[in-house]
C-alpha cells in the first residue's frame, strides 16, 4: 500500500512575487502599457527635476536682498520678508496678538464643544458660544472700548480670506435653510419667491453679484448710511452662498424618508415642531458633507475679492509684486499662495470625504 507523505508547499515562482512581478503587473503588462509607462517617466523626468531645482536646490533662503538672490532658483527670502503682510494685510503689527487670540479662542471653543458630548446643557452651551464668539471676535479685531480701533480697510491677507469665508458660511446658513424650506413649501407664493431667488443667484457669476453689492447696493440705502466696503462684500457673498446652501439642504430634505414626514403628522405635531424636531435634524445631518463641500467652494471664491479691491491673500501677493525692492519675484508670490491655498483646500476636501464615509452608514434604503 502506497503511503502518501505530506509535501511541503512549493514557493511561489519568482515571476509571481516581489518587486519584479509588481513592475510587470502594474507598469509593463503589455506593449501599450509599457509605452505609456516610458512616456510618463520621460514627462516626469522633464518636469520634476526642473521644479525641484527651482523650488529647493537652486532656491535662496538666506537673508539677502533681491539682487543677491539668484535668478535660477526661487527667492524664498521675499516670501519670508513679506510673510506678515500676506497673513495680516495692513493690520498694525502691535495688534497681531488680537488676531492670534481670535484664532486661539475659536480652537478653545471647538475643543469645549467637542468635550461636552452628552452634557445636560450641551445645546444651550453651544448656542451660547455661537452667539458670544462673533461678538468677542469682532471686538478683538475691530477694537473699541480701550482697544485701539483698526478700520476694516486695514484688514487683509490670509486673515481676511478666513474671516470672509467663515462669516459667509455662518451668515448664509440660516438664510439657506429658510430658502430650502421655502422651495419645498406647499405655499405657492413662498415657493415661487424662493425658486426665483435661488435660480437667479445660481445663474449668474459671483463676480457680477460682487459688482452689484459694491456698486449698486449703496444706491438702495438711505443716503446717510455709509456702508463699509467689507460689509458690502460680505452681503454679496452671503447672498450668493445662501442660494448654494439652500440647494445642498434641499438635497438633505429630499433624502429624509417620506415616512418621517407622515409619522410627524400622525403624532399631531405642528409644522414648526415637525420641521425643527423631526425633519431638519435628519436633513442637516445628511447634508453635512455637502455643506463642507460648499464651504470649500466658498473658500476658493474668496479670491474674487481681489477684483472688487479688497485685500485678501491673493491681492496682497498681487500688490507686493510691484514692490520696488523685490521686482520680478511675482512667480514666487503666486507659487506661495497656491501652496497655502492648496494645503487648506486639500485638507478640507479630505475632511469632507471622511465625513461622507462617516455619515453614509444610515438611510441606505
Amino acid at each position: 500500500m502506497a503511503t502518501f507523505e505530506q509535501q511541503t508547499a512549493k514557493k511561489a515562482p519568482n515571476s509571481e512575487i516581489g518587486f519584479a512581478h509588481w513592475l510587470r503587473k502594474n507598469l509593463f503588462s503589455n506593449v501599450t502599457n509599457s509605452v505609456l509607462t516610458v512616456f510618463a517617466l520621460y514627462v516626469l523626468y522633464l518636469i520634476v527635476p526642473a521644479i525641484a531645482n527651482w523650488m529647493l536646490f537652486d532656491a535662496t533662503f538666506a537673508p539677502v536682498n533681491n539682487e543677491q538672490c539668484g535668478r535660477e532658483g526661487a527667492c524664498w527670502r521675499y516670501i519670508i520678508e513679506k510673510l506678515d503682510l500676506f497673513i495680516y494685510g495692513f493690520y498694525p503689527a502691535e495688534g497681531y496678538w488680537r488676531v492670534q487670540w481670535v484664532l486661539i479662542l475659536a480652537l478653545v471653543f471647538v475643543w469645549i464643544a467637542k468635550r461636552l458630548k452628552q452634557h445636560q446643557y450641551k445645546l444651550k452651551i453651544i448656542a451660547g458660544l455661537i452667539i458670544i464668539y462673533p461678538i468677542v471676535a469682532f471686538f478683538l479685531l475691530y477694537g473699541g472700548l480701550s482697544l485701539e480701533v483698526v478700520e476694516t480697510h486695514q484688514w487683509g491677507g490670509l486673515m481676511l480670506t478666513v474671516i470672509v469665508a467663515t462669516v459667509g458660511i455662518v451668515a448664509s446658513f440660516p438664510i439657506g435653510v429658510l430658502l430650502a424650506l421655502g422651495r419645498q413649501s406647499k405655499m405657492p407664493v413662498i415657493r415661487l419667491l424662493s425658486v426665483i431667488y435661488i435660480e437667479f443667484i445660481r445663474g449668474v457669476p459671483l463676480i457680477t453679484i460682487l459688482f452689484m453689492a459694491s456698486v449698486i447696493l449703496p444706491l438702495f440705502f438711505h443716503e446717510g448710511m455709509n456702508m463699509d466696503k467689507l460689509l458690502r462684500a460680505l452681503i454679496g457673498i452671503t447672498m450668493f452662498q445662501s442660494a448654494y446652501i439652500a440647494e445642498v439642504i434641499r438635497g438633505g430634505l429630499q433624502a429624509v424618508p417620506r415616512g418621517q414626514y407622515e409619522a410627524a403628522d400622525a403624532m399631531g405635531l405642528s409644522f414648526l415642531q415637525k420641521t425643527t424636531l423631526i425633519i431638519l435634524p435628519q436633513a442637516l445631518k445628511i447634508s453635512i458633507p455637502n455643506i463642507v463641500g460648499s464651504f470649500i467652494a466658498l473658500f476658493k471664491d474668496t479670491t474674487l475679492l481681489l477684483i472688487i479691491g479688497l485685500l485678501d491673500v491673493l491681492s496682497m501677493v498681487h500688490l507686493s509684486t510691484s514692490d520696488e525692492n523685490w521686482l520680478g519675484r511675482s512667480t514666487e508670490g503666486f507659487v506661495f499662495v497656491m501652496l497655502v491655498m492648496w494645503i487648506i483646500l486639500y485638507s478640507m476636501s479630505r475632511y469632507s470625504k471622511a465625513l461622507e464615509l462617516k455619515y453614509s452608514t444610515e438611510h441606505k434604503n
Binding site: 502594474n26 507598469l27 503588462s29 502599457n33 505609456l36 509607462t37 510618463a40 517617466l41 516626469l44 406647499k186 405655499m187 405657492p188 407664493v189 413662498i190 419667491l193 437667479f200 445660481r202 445663474g203 449668474v204 457669476p205 463676480i207 457680477t208 459688482f211 452689484m212 456698486v215 449698486i216 449703496p218 444706491l219 438702495f220 440705502f221 438711505h222 443716503e223 476658493k300 471664491d301 479670491t303 474674487l304 481681489l306 477684483i307 491673493l314 498681487h318 520680478g328 511675482s330 512667480t331 503666486f334 507659487v335 499662495v337 497656491m338 491655498m341 492648496w342 483646500l345 486639500y346 476636501s349
Partner: protein, 388 residues
C-alpha cells in the same frame, strides 16, 4: 369670541394665506423702500438713467475683437464685442476641458499604476487651487518667461511664440474653396443616408456591415479629392516680424491663452471625475453579461457599457460647462476683453450707470444658464431609462 378667532387663524389654509400675504407684503415694502431710496440717490448724485448710453461713442480701444470695432464705435458695439469674446472663450474652453477631462478620466482608471496615479495627482492638484489664482499664475508665467518679439521661439519657421502671444499661419480661402465645403456637406449627407440604409438592413436581416470605409471615403476622401481637383485653393498667410511686432497670421494673445489654459485645466478635473464615476457606476455584471451574450468587446462597450456610463456622467459634465462659461468672467482680472471685463468694467467706469450695466450683464449670464439648463433637461429626458 377671541377663542373662535384664534382657532380660525390656526386653520391650515387660513394661516397659509396669512403667511404668504405677510411675506409678500414685507418683501414688497422692502422693495418699495429700496426703490424710493434709489430714486432719491439718483437725483441727488445726478446719475443719468436709461439706456441712451448704449448709442454713445465708446472712446476706447479693445485689443481683441471678432466683429469690426474702433474707438469711435458705440457702447452697444462694446457689449457685442464682449459677448462674442465670452462665447468664444466658453466654446474653446469647453472643447479643451472636455478633451483633457476625457483623457484624464480614462487614465484615472487605467490598469497602469503610474498613469492612474499621475491622473489622480493631476485632479487633486488642480481642483484644489482657486481658478482665479490659476489664471493669474499662467498669465504671470507667460509674461515673465516668454521672450521679447525679436528673440521669439520658432517652430518650423511658421509658428512664433513671444511676450505678445503665439502667432500661427492663417489659412486664407481662395476662389473655389466654397466647393470644398460643399463637398464636405454632400459627404455628411451621403454618410447619414448610407448609415441609415445599413441600419435598416440590420434591423430587417440581422446582417451587420461595417460602414468605416464608406464614412472615410465620404467624409475625408470626397472633400480632399475636390480640394486637389480645384488646384488646392487655400493659401497660408505666415506671420512675419515687422518693426517691433509680428504682422499677419493668427495671433493668440497671452491673456486669451492663459485664460483658456486655466479654465480648461481646472474644469477638466471635474469632468474627469464625472467620467470616472460614470464608468465606475456600471456594475461589473453588465460587462460580463454582455460578453456572455456573445457581444464582442467593442459591441459591449458601445451598446451596453457606454450608454449606462454616459447617463451618469453627462449631467454633471453639462453643469461644468455652465461653470466654465460663468468662470470666463474672471478674465476681467487679466484684462482679456470679454463681457465682464470690457462692458461691466470699462464702460461702467466711463458712464457710471451701474444699474443698467450690471443688469444687462446678469441677464446675459442668466440667458446662458437657462439655455444650458434647458439642454440638460432635454438630455436627461432622452437618456432616462425607458419604462421607468
Amino acid at each position: 369670541m377671541i377663542r373662535r378667532l384664534l382657532s380660525f387663524l390656526y386653520k391650515n389654509e387660513v394661516s397659509a394665506y396669512l403667511i404668504q400675504l405677510l411675506t409678500f407684503g414685507a418683501i414688497a415694502y422692502v422693495f418699495y423702500q429700496a426703490i424710493d431710496n434709489l430714486i432719491i440717490n439718483i437725483e441727488n448724485r445726478g446719475i443719468r438713467t436709461g439706456f441712451d448710453f448704449l448709442s454713445l461713442e465708446s472712446g476706447f480701444d479693445i485689443a481683441e475683437y471678432l466683429i469690426d470695432y474702433s474707438s469711435s464705435s458705440s457702447n452697444l458695439r462694446v457689449f457685442y464685442v464682449g459677448l462674442l469674446n465670452t462665447i468664444l472663450v466658453s466654446f474653446v474652453g469647453i472643447a479643451f476641458a472636455s478633451l483633457i477631462g476625457l483623457m484624464v478620466g480614462i487614465a484615472r482608471l487605467s490598469n497602469n499604476w503610474l498613469i492612474a496615479k499621475l491622473a489622480g495627482g493631476y485632479i487633486e492638484l488642480f481642483r484644489n487651487i482657486p481658478i482665479l489664482l490659476q489664471i493669474l499664475f499662467w498669465y504671470n508665467l507667460a509674461l515673465t518667461s516668454f521672450p521679447h518679439p525679436k528673440r521669439s521661439f520658432e517652430l518650423f519657421d511658421s509658428i512664433f511664440i513671444n511676450l505678445r502671444g503665439i502667432y500661427l499661419p492663417k489659412p486664407i480661402a481662395a476662389e473655389g474653396f466654397i466647393w470644398v465645403l460643399g463637398a464636405l456637406v454632400v459627404g455628411v449627407v451621403l454618410r447619414i443616408l448610407v448609415k441609415r440604409h445599413f441600419n435598416k438592413r440590420h434591423d430587417e436581416t440581422g446582417v451587420e456591415t461595417s460602414t468605416f470605409v464608406y464614412s472615410f471615403l465620404l467624409l475625408i476622401g470626397l472633400p480632399v479629392a475636390v480640394y486637389f481637383m480645384l488646384g488646392a485653393p487655400l493659401h497660408l498667410d505666415y506671420p512675419a516680424l515687422k518693426g517691433f511686432n509680428f504682422k499677419g497670421g493668427i495671433s493668440l494673445s497671452p491673456e486669451f491663452l492663459s485664460l483658456i489654459l486655466a479654465l480648461s485645466i481646472y474644469t477638466a478635473t471635474y469632468i474627469a471625475e464625472a467620467i470616472r464615476s460614470g464608468i465606475e457606476s456600471v456594475s461589473q455584471g453588465q460587462k460580463e453579461a454582455a460578453l456572455a451574450m456573445g457581444l464582442t468587446q467593442k459591441q459591449s462597450l458601445k451598446l451596453v457599457l457606454l450608454p449606462q456610463a454616459l447617463r451618469v456622467s453627462i449631467p454633471p459634465i453639462i453643469n461644468q460647462y455652465l461653470n466654465l462659461a460663468k468662470n470666463s468672467s474672471l478674465a476681467t482680472a487679466i484684462g482679456y476683453p470679454e463681457l465682464t471685463s470690457v462692458f461691466t468694467g470699462t464702460v461702467l467706469n466711463q458712464v457710471g450707470q451701474a444699474l443698467e450695466i450690471v443688469f444687462m450683464t446678469m441677464m446675459v449670464y442668466l440667458t446662458i444658464s437657462l439655455g444650458i439648463s434647458l439642454i440638460l433637461n432635454i438630455v436627461n429626458r432622452r437618456m432616462r431609462i425607458k419604462g421607468q
